[in-house]
Symmetry: C2
Subunit: 435 residues, 2 copies
């Protein structure tokens, strides 16, 4: 078997066999197949597609390119969730404690933010002392003894995906639905997941801009899970405007804590309840969404979800005084409102521009490895559809640098549209796949 | 400007600007743009195409990636010819002396054979002493003083093309008409050509399998020449069966010498006359094909073409005793006929299989740098359409190794088809473009 023949086959729109996909991914992982052949192959896949069977083979080849965690001795069912990324998406911080409080232990590996899209690890690191670099052994021990873990991906999981993703990033081969689906699912499978809730975001602040493409991605991932002997449920959720109000690391932790205290923004709470309900279905604690939702609501109302969050922070070395008194969390020196230029109805709060303004302030990173400022960010005061009066604050900008503040102000002015006539609120969800 | 954005633009089927193409090719030549980005870009070009303006820009960017010869001080008009490659194609050996004898000095750089397709340099090296590695200075001096040169491409010409071609070979991105056209034309332009006759082969033993694709390639190259301020004429010629009778280096030199002595196979003689006639049109010696043909025929009849060939061999260090008495040229130890299994009419002599059988015998190379055996090869005794009797020799196989002989025999048996009913001869030409 030769790599060039596999490239030619895909170039000519033919289906690759399981053996060919395994040969290519194993060869690429070992370095026998060079980057330039993988780049040509990835472009051919992007332009000519792969069917679900090929995509599942690719997923499994990448998952098994390194270690695959086996959590069967530690938990009854290994649950996971994944968000395709968005602005203000602090869902894991609330959902994980809820699900654990409802009786299903969860050990989860999360990622960092890149570009306009935030990352769970960066948010958790707003809490002084919190460790996101647990070893596999620490992960397993904590999952067994504490029942809740939230840490970074260990380097040995799906190394083929890590290598291929870095290559796709510089060769214009990121936006391929089969490549995106296999990248996500390979990491979940390598992390040992048996049941996965996929939060597929759609809209201005998401990688998927249209409902059609998001649905295609979601259906493919649910199909891959089934073909790989796992179960996945995908939620199609809105990411035209930020989720909740807070965008920026410590600001989002504060909002998550509020939500865990049975308060918090209505849209974000709704989002967390839906994700948690579906995780509880996969975890065997609920027969349907209504039951799962009831269980999840109870963990907010009785404080048990909050207790699990506190246990998590403590177990991973975080200083709980900062979450018990969230006003201690990093705060920015400058807090400037951005006021509505006219009265009317909020017609758009462009999630991507808000995310990019947060990156400018220092809350996110342009490229991997850039340092971030946990204190800065943006608080949004309105949701699309709400009435707004001229001069009323639409955003509060939290900044540590006046020049960056000015730049963010300008960008945020462009992020909003106010309509003189009433505007429908945006939906939270567009559908569920694989229920 | 970023390489990845140029890849993305082509991935998304957009037209690249002149600046973008120059940036990409200059960056790739210098090594600032890595192979993996060039590979993804080449696959995007192959699958999404380039228009003639982009292809011309690519051609010029590659031509000017290294030295560009200026022959204006040495010859009135710099003529060149190019064949897209085939089996038994020794045309240059005859055409070059004819055109020079008709009054237009020509300095030509040729290539080596690869795979089933032979190369002019390998053929000339059958003549002991013949040098194919002239320096640029030697090239210019000989062109000025002798009026005829036939040597290898100096390493400094179109280095971007050399680098990109090697990459395309291992990334499945060879068969792209814009990439093929720009590769050919960039080398011709770098070699200083102002008028170029392109011999575009079609059929079983050609890179272009269909008349449509050959015509597309030919039209594109003629268009590129015009856009780049040169003039090209493209001939569409048959390569379903080998050209002439001889396939293999010394065997082809002997056939070329026969032809220069105003004998030789009718189809090959016809081919050379047509190519030479069009070179003479471009060289300003003929108004039309008929005039050019008459001039060219005269050089065969009066021995002047043969004299030019002799001058060429002598100028480049070749031992003229070997061409004066071609029976001195390398000859194979084993000469075995392959007989017709039945009577009928020759319906197919599969040029590619004949070429591959010659490679097996040692006449060609599987990969760059492999040594070759100048003595071995195949002589074809029939043309498609000719009657054939059972037991009559169809091929004579010239071999130096019995095992390779046996292997070639088997392959050649599969190369022929004999029909019980009469078969039309194959045309020599399918059209002329740019006349």
């Amino acid at each position: 078997m030769r790599a060039v023949d596999i490239i030619i086959k895909k170039r000519d729109k033919q289906e690759l066999s399981t053996e060919e996909i395994n040969f290519f991914i194993q060869g690429y992982t070992k370095g026998d197949i060079p980057d330039y052949q993988a780049a040509a192959w990835a472009m051919a896949v992007l332009l000519n597609g792969m069917n679900p069977r090929e995509t599942t083979d690719l997923t499994l080849a990448m998952a098994y390119s390194g270690d695959v965690l086996d959590l069967s001795g530690v938990v009854d069912i290994a649950l996971d969730k994944h968000s395709t990324g968005g602005v203000g998406d602090k869902t894991t911080l609330v959902v994980l404690p809820m699900v654990v409080a409802a009786g299903v232990p969860v050990g989860k590996m999360s990622g960092r933010g890149l570009g306009f899209s935030g990352g769970t690890l960066d948010k958790m690191e707003s809490i002084p002392g919190y460790r996101t670099n647990l070893t596999t052994e620490e992960f397993l021990t904590q999952l067994k003894e504490v029942g809740i873990v939230l840490t970074g991906q260990s380097a040995d999981l799906a190394p083929a995906d890590g290598k291929l993703y870095a290559l796709r990033d510089v060769t214009g081969t990121v936006p391929s639905i089969p490549l995106i689906a296999s990248s996500i699912m390979s990491k979940k499978i390598a992390a040992g997941a048996q049941g996965i809730v996929l939060d597929v975001k759609i809209g201005l602040g998401a990688f998927m801009q249209t409902l059609e493409s998001a649905r295609e991605l979601a259906e493919l991932m649910v199909d891959i899970a089934a073909r790989a002997g796992r179960r996945a449920i995908a939620l199609l959720s809105d990411m035209n405007q930020p989720l909740g109000y807070a965008v920026g690391n410590a600001l989002e932790v504060k909002e998550a804590i509020e939500t865990l205290h049975n308060r918090g923004p209505a849209d974000f709470r709704e989002h967390c309840l839906k994700v948690a309900a579906h995780m509880l279905i996969l975890g065997g604690k609920a027969q349907n969404e209504a039951q799962g939702r009831e269980l999840a609501e109870k963990t907010l109302a009785d404080g048990s979800a909050w207790e699990e969050f506190r246990k998590l922070v403590q177990a991973q070395g975080g200083d709980v005084r900062y979450i018990d008194q969230p006003e201690r969390l990093p705060a920015a020196r400058l807090q400037e409102p951005l006021k509505a230029p006219q009265s009317g109805y909020m017609a758009q709060i462009h999630a991507r521009l808000v995310g990019e303004a947060a990156v400018i302030l220092g809350a996110g990173r342009e490229k991997k490895g850039d340092p971030i400022d946990h204190a800065v960010g943006i608080v949004v005061h309105k949701k699309v559809g709400e009435p707004v009066e001229a001069g009323e604050p639409v955003f509060t900008i939290h900044a540590n640098d006046p020049a960056k503040l000015a730049e963010a102000q300008q960008m945020l002015q462009e992020a909003i549209k106010i309509s003189p006539t009433p505007v429908e609120p945006l939906p939270h969800f567009y559908g569920v796949i694989g229920e």
